[in-house]
Amino acid sequence: MRLNCTVNGEARQADDVWAGESLLYVLRERLGLPGSKNACEQGECGSCTVYMDGTPVCACLVAAGQAEGRDVVTVEGIADGPVQQAFLAAGAVQCGFCTPGLVVAVHDLLARDSAPTDPEIREALAGNLCRCTGYEKILDAVRLAVQR
């Protein structure tokens, strides 16, 4: 199938997309956007979190056809801003595999709530696994981004 959607503000097209491919696969392997990650491809880790029509979803569970005409924003499409800077400054990036999904999730959280409490931050990020940091500096990063 041919897939047409908006990705990071640009109209994009992918040809010869097999119906069984996920949006994640299309982004990574066909549209040159490998920023979203494939830690589990089962919706169990959040590393593939992208915006679809303004809502964070797991791209690994979106069948390619379902992305037709949708507005997709990936980590590559989120302008370098307080969230990314805070992650760097707070030491919240170790291996970095969870980072793209978290950047999207944190970006979404702060767009909905500019001053989340710690319990609210934890609830909002419960869908993103990290194996390196124990989440402590990720929390630091979110608090830092809130301040900035």
Binding site: P34, G35, Q42, E44, G91, F97, Y135, K137
Partner: protein
């Protein structure tokens, strides 16, 4: 020690931003699963569904016939050594006539789409004759027995406590899947881009299996999405190379999560019997212990894990009489090998549980009984080795005990056990506090020739001094690339430092494991910088560098650094070793086997809903001596991450094996801590310099994984009164 003035930003002891951080936050960092080559094919692996079976035949016809398939290979297509292995070369590249664990690779396929490759693999017909599987370690073939005997084996004591403890099979669960790209080269060799922990050991095994000289097998480190021990053994390296050489095209392989659970080794499950004897004053008289580790189907690094469990198995305590037997067995369970902590984790759960049991039997405070037996500088290990340098065991315990208590609940439901779902106002919720302290060796032991290589080049770029650091050391997330640059800045007084991509064109850096890399690769970088500095100074007869100038003995400025570098870059390559270690006596286990010890203590505070068995860890405090915090922010990150993995083992992580079959190979059913499971963590970092290591540093990564598990379990015991002799602890163990 450092001989260059501070004044250059971003040196040792600071926390500069990671050089790869910008790429990572923008999603531009190339992990091994993000690689791409024109004309690339995708590889897939066919794996055994049986824990033990004879292979009577493999029919690849249907697979080969599928359009888009370019290669279907079995063991017959392995041109060189048919087996590989870290310590014992026992693991087939592709199964030959027999499979010994569920998930053992049998064949590999290359195709033009990953789905095609998967379908082709599914079409391979393997005629299996299922054989009985050995799934109990005690019924398996012995791989290694490590005995330790010191003092009087018949010593008696007034107070004796015994216990049997079990640690389930934990998984490293790194997020970045096993993956990489193999590109066939014009010289008949292969260029391999992969995520790994040790490029050169991979290179050797790949070269041997391909029947190629090492120069024709060139490895470059691609971005690594976490390791924690699971990337020490080969996964797809030989497979992808075989497919690439066979098809003449680049081949990419990426494991899915389910496959990943079969694609790497796990932590050894352990059953341990301990007997502690002490005086009525709480002084340990003897410890007798038997540790049985299930090594699974192939050796991996089991022999070293067993030695660790044995030598570190009584904990950071002075015990005059020790009878220790740690054994690892082959079974038809999946192979077990390195995971952060490497044998010390399992033993620590047992000996710390025992120390609490002893405290209880003596009517003593659990920290007090530990303090009365705490190791210190000059203490003697059960192997006879004297602990040199700082060993602040008592200090660490006192620090975690005297940290302010965790705050009482705020009443926010989200802070209750079970989170938002909690229906109590605190009734039925009991708080408990528990302690743990552990000991870990740093770097490789038992006489292993442990070294790291660093190439450092000082030159002018755009008229300004710049340093290039090149090692083969694997950055796996820990921040090694940052630390290498920091060391170069401190040693040469130059701020512009680039750390080159790790590859095999420079000598081995050894493994990114055993908490050794800052010590070893850091030591090599430092030594190479010192050699560069010496050569630089020799050019003009200078005595030292300071603030970008070369100075004489008396402090007079001889020349500008830039002018001394001039047209001639200075480059030095150094192979750097730590002090030798020695084998253990095979009967008594005596020997100076380790080069450095590291200690960490934890205090865990939990709230337990005792009615439903739900545990919420409220806070974990860690005190750890790191010798010298080369990068304080990264040190904290390692302590946080290690503690999280220890909490996971305590409360939720286990590979469920049933008759040799893995029942939960997914993140749905293998649960690692989410942000809602992790508590706030407070870290107290001590810097008590080791006289023998670069900058006095001590390895950081593993100690926090070791004592965190027993501290959490001890806290749950304190809250519930349950014995809890097995980890992970589940709700039914608390209410049952």
């Amino acid at each position: 020690m450092t001989t260059v003035e501070a004044g250059v930003a971003g040196g040792v002891g600071t926390s500069p931003k990671r050089p790869d951080g910008g790429l990572k936050v923008r999603g531009e960092f190339a992990f091994s699963s993000d690689l791409w080559a024109d004309d690339m094919l995708w590889g897939a692996t066919l794996r055994s569904p049986h824990p033990h079976a004879r292979i009577r035949g493999i029919d690849i016809t249907a697979a080969v016939a599928l359009p888009g398939v370019y290669a279907v290979l079995t063991h017959e297509d392995v041109p060189g050594a048919k087996r590989y292995g870290l310590e014992i070369v026992d693991q087939p590249v592709l199964a030959m006539g027999e499979v010994k664990y569920q998930g053992e690779p049998v064949a590999v396929v290359a195709a033009d789409h990953p789905e095609t490759a998967r379908r082709a693999a599914a079409r391979i017909v393997v005629d299996y004759e299922v054989l009985p599987a050995v799934t109990e370690a005690s019924l398996g073939v012995l791989l290694r027995h490590v005995p330790i005997r010191t003092g009087d084996p018949d010593a008696t004591a007034d107070v004796v406590v015994t216990g049997e403890y079990q640690v389930g099979m934990q998984d490293q669960a790194f997020l970045g899947p096993e993956s990489g790209l193999a590109v066939p080269a014009e010289d008949g060799g292969v260029d391999l881009y992969i995520a790994t922990q040790w490029l050169h050991v991979d290179q050797k095994q790949v070269a041997d299996c391909l029947g190629l000289p090492a120069e024709k097998v060139r490895l470059t480190l691609a971005g690594v999405g976490g390791a924690f021990g699971a990337r020490e053994d080969l996964s797809m390296q030989v497979h992808a190379s075989l497919l690439a050489l066979h098809t003449g095209r680049p081949v990419k392989m990426v494991y899915g999560r389910e496959e990943s659970f079969f694609g790497h080794v796990h932590r050894h499950p352990a059953t341990m019997w301990y007997e502690h004897g002490a005086t009525r004053d709480g002084k340990l008289v003897y410890v007798k212990a038997k540790i049985v580790l299930d090594g699974g189907a192939y050796a991996s690094s089991s022999t070293a894990v067993a030695a660790n469990a044995a030598t570190l198995g009584i904990g950071p305590y002075e015990v005059p009489n020790v009878v220790m037997d740690a054994s690892v067995y082959y079974t038809n369970n999946p192979p077990c090998g390195a995971m952060r902590g490497f044998g010390a984790v399992q033993a620590c759960f047992a000996y710390e549980s025992q120390m609490d049991k002893l405290a209880s039997a003596l009517g003593l405070d659990p920290v007090e009984v530990r303090l009365r037996n705490a190791m210190t500088t000059g203490s003697r290990m059960p192997t006879g080795q004297i602990v040199e340098g700082p060993a602040p065991v008592a200090d660490l315990l006192i620090r975690v005990r005297s940290a302010p208590p965790a705050p009482e609940g705020s009443g926010d439901l989200r802070e209750m056990p079970g989170g938002v779902s909690n229906t109590t106002h605190g009734e039925g919720v009991v708080r408990g506090i528990g302690y743990g302290i552990g000991i870990k060796n740093v770097a490789f032991s038992e006489g292993f020739d442990d070294y790291a290589t660093a190439r450092v080049r000082l030159e002018l770029i755009g008229g300004e001094p710049a340093v290039l650091v090149h090692t083969a050391a694997a950055e796996v997330g820990q921040g090694l690339v940052t630390v290498q640059a920091q060391i170069a800045r401190t040693e040469l007084g130059v701020e512009r430092v680039t750390v080159a991509t790790a590859d095999t064109s420079v000598g081995s850096a050894g493994s990114s494991s055993a908490s050794r890399q800052t010590y070893m690769t850091g030591g090599a970088v430092r030594a190479a910088c010192q050699a560069v500095r010496a050569a630089l100074l020799a050019r003009v007869g200078g005595a030292r560098l300071d603030g970008g100038k070369v100075l004489s003995d008396s402090g007079a400025v001889i020349a500008d650094l830039a002018s001394v570098i001039g047209d001639g870059p200075i480059e030095e390559t150094v192979e750097w070793r730590h002090r030798p270690t020695y084998p253990l006596d095979p009967v008594t286990g005596q020997g100076n086997a380790h080069v450095q010890y590291a200690f960490a203590a934890h205090r865990a505070t939990v709230d337990v809903d005792v009615e439903l068995g739900l545990v919420r860890v409220v806070e974990i405090v860690t005190a750890q001596d790191v010798g010298k915090a080369v990068n304080p922010l990264a040190v904290e990150g390692q302590i946080h991450g290690g503690t999280a993995q220890g909490l996971g083992l305590a409360l939720m992580e286990e590979i469920q094996m049933v008759d040799g079959i893995v029942r939960n190979p997914s993140f749905t059913d293998y649960l690692i801590p989410t942000i809602l499971d992790m508590p706030p963590m407070k870290v107290d970092v001590l810097e008590m310099a080791d006289p023998h290591s670069p900058y006095g540093l001590r390895g950081v990564g593993e100690p926090p994984t070791i004592s965190s598990t027993p501290a959490v379990v001890a806290a749950v015991r304190a809250a519930t009164g349950k014995a809890l002799t097995r980890v992970p602890v589940r709700p039914e163990h608390i209410v049952g």
